[in-house]
């Protein structure tokens, strides 16, 4: 007797599903362009010490405030430093402060939002009042005050930005938990005796991942803008270290002598924020299954 063929169900692996997801994402032109740009930017930032034509602090006082030319593709600043090289090194600091602050905000907001939504009751009430209070302070002002009082440094910028990002993340996570809690499959898990920890890990987290990823992408753009704002006012990254905000601040000081210098860091910030936003939109539409 020959063995009957057992119908097999192909369970897609995580990697397989991820590849399929990327495929769908890259079919959207705007999202594909944004993702490609961001990938390139990260590569440039990582490789800056090897591919930048000059050092970020290398001065040439015989060639200050130059317009773009063959030797300096994006010109030179008031100390004769190569703008393109500083832009490449600046990408490291600007991206790092944005990524680290969003990461730190998530690490705090995830447990707080989960507990607030899952436990509910008085605890939820208190936590939400705190979130309301924090959200009434203009975010940039709060970040400035925190960074200013702690003293300007990369670490303190990350703390300041994380604090202003936490409320929106907590609100989002809590809202998702409240929505998921009522779903039949969560009720089913509970009825067969699954513990709260198991339900949160297996059911709730799985379902809040999508909106969280979208929000994180858009917040990364906001982080970049906020870092630039802080550094511009002198409360963020300290010169001569190159961040895009520091470069813009310097360009403002020389706005009468060299208009040109305003553009490279400004365009870099705008394109990168645009890319994070477009990627966020694309992720949202793709995750919705559109």
């Amino acid at each position: 007797m020959t063995a009957a063929t057992i119908p097999t169900v192909v369970v897609p692996t995580l990697a397989g599903r991820f590849r399929a997801f990327l495929g769908r994402l890259f079919r959207r032109p705007a999202a594909a362009a944004a993702a490609t740009y961001l990938l390139l930017l990260v590569v440039v930032a990582l490789l800056a010490p090897w591919i930048a034509p000059h050092g970020p602090y290398e001065q040439d006082l015989n060639a200050i405030n130059q317009a773009p030319n063959a030797a300096h593709w994006l010109g030179t600043d008031d100390l004769g430093r190569d703008v393109l090289s500083r832009l490449m090194y600046g990408a490291r600091i600007s991206l790092a402060s944005s990524v680290l602050s969003v990461g730190a905000a998530l690490v705090v907001a995830l447990p707080v939002g989960l507990v607030s939504g899952y436990v509910g009751g008085r605890l939820d009430n208190v936590l939400m009042r705190i979130v309301d209070g924090l959200q009434s302070i203009p975010p940039l002002v709060l970040a400035l005050a925190i960074a200013g009082l702690l003293g300007p440094s990369l670490r303190n910028i990350v703390i300041a930005l994380a604090v202003i990002f936490i409320p929106a993340f907590v609100r989002l996570i809590r809202g998702q938990v409240l929505a998921v809690k009522e779903e039949t499959y969560v009720e089913a898990s509970r009825s067969v005796g699954a513990s709260s920890g198991y339900i949160v890990r297996k059911r709730v987290l799985h379902n809040i991942a999508s909106p969280l990823i979208v929000q994180a992408s858009i917040t990364l753009g906001f982080g970049l803008l906020a870092e630039a704002g802080l550094s511009f006012l002198g409360l963020g990254i300290q010169p001569p270290e190159p961040s895009w905000g520091v470069m813009l601040s310097r360009a403002y000081d020389y706005i009468f002598e060299a208009h040109w210098l305003v553009f490279p860091p400004g365009v870099a910030i705008m394109l990168t924020v645009l890319a994070f936003n477009l990627l966020g939109d694309g992720l949202r539409d793709t995750l919705r299954g559109g």
Binding site: R129, I130, D132, I137, P138, V141, A145, G229, V262, M270
Partner: protein, 315 residues
């Protein structure tokens, strides 16, 4: 409606209390002994440290400090600057008209640009006009306000020499000069809000135009202007109003940087200088004031929303 307003007002009390605690506790972010740091660091004389400690009430328990601060704050007394000794409340009052002018100018600019663009895009979804509106709005959202400010300064101030790029003239002194000095700051600050508004309105209008009652209005033979003006716009405006409310906090935050660039003597410049110099009473007073304005602005948006939509009042 009366009960709705009352409920909202009562709801503000816990919010303002949480807010005041957060603002008050900011001083404890200063590393080490705040009194020593604020007196000028290690080099400070013991007398100066004692003076600062006394002025900020650091020798009392935190709860007592907070109670004292709050009791004064509700009377708009935020103490004196650690360096100039001038009353923070007076200074804030003197600078408020400048900040209010910039915020008002920005909202006006945002409405003037955002509404027409949003309607233009939303009326014909997926058309060339619509794509242009969407692209423009995306750029407006991604552009840092202070970078836009610099470009405006270069183009309209330095190259064309049409508009002043620094300083402020009060309305009482010369309404025309007041207006001219506010144009560039308002464009720089209002662009983000205008772009967000255009994007929201465009999406909402495109959705509403699909609705049955709009089809009925069209079937009656109404032209596109009447359809949008009389039927669709009001419903599409609801989500836009919500967005405006959310954006107000950003607007008050953004004034800080815009005032700095255009050298406007408002609350923002005062606050930035205080933060750089760690002048705690100013930081607490200034942030508290901006936050209260955000809360009040949100309240007005809430009430408007309740006025437009009866369902909100009872929920």
């Amino acid at each position: 409606m009366g009960r709705f307003v009352l409920r909202r007002l009562v709801g503000l009390v816990p919010l303002l209390l949480v807010l005041s605690v957060a603002v008050f506790l900011l001083v404890y972010l200063i590393p080490g002994d705040p009194a020593v740091t604020l007196a000028g660091g290690e080099a400070a004389t013991p007398e100066r440290v004692a003076e600062v400690r006394e002025q900020l009430g650091f020798d009392e328990p935190v709860v007592v400090q907070y109670g004292d601060w709050l009791a004064d704050a509700v009377r708009l007394d935020f103490g004196e600057s650690l360096y100039t000794g001038r009353a923070v409340g007076d200074e804030l009052r003197a600078r408020l008209p400048v900040t209010a002018s910039v915020v008002l100018g920005s909202v006006v600019f945002a409405l003037l640009v955002g509404i027409p663009l949003g309607v233009l895009g939303g009326m014909r979804p997926a058309s060339k006009t619509d794509s242009a509106v969407t692209a423009l709005a995306s750029l407006g959202i991604a552009m840092p306000s202070f970078w836009l400010a610099m470009i405006l300064i270069i183009v309209f101030g330095l190259e064309l020499d049409w508009l002043p790029v620094r300083g402020y003239v009060s309305f009482a002194e010369s309404p025309w000069e007041w207006f001219r000095h506010l144009i560039l700051p308002s464009i720089a600050l209002g662009t983000l809000m205008g772009a967000t508004l255009a994007r929201q309105l465009r999406g909402a209008l495109a959705d509403v135009l699909e609705a049955d009652y709009v089809r009925t209005a069209r079937a009656k033979g109404l032209g596109p202007v009447r359809v949008v003006g009389k039927h669709a716009f009001k419903n599409a405006a609801m989500p836009a109003v919500t967005i405006l409310g959310l954006q107000i906090a950003y607007l008050f935050g953004g004034t800080v940087i815009i005032e700095e660039i255009f050298a406007l003597p408002g609350v923002g410049t005062y606050l930035v200088n205080a933060i750089v110099g760690q002048d705690v009473p100013i930081i607490q007073g200034g942030i508290m004031m901006l936050a209260v304005f955000v809360v009040l602005a949100n309240l007005i948006v809430d009430l408007t929303y309740g006025f437009l939509n009866p369902k909100v009042r009872v929920s």
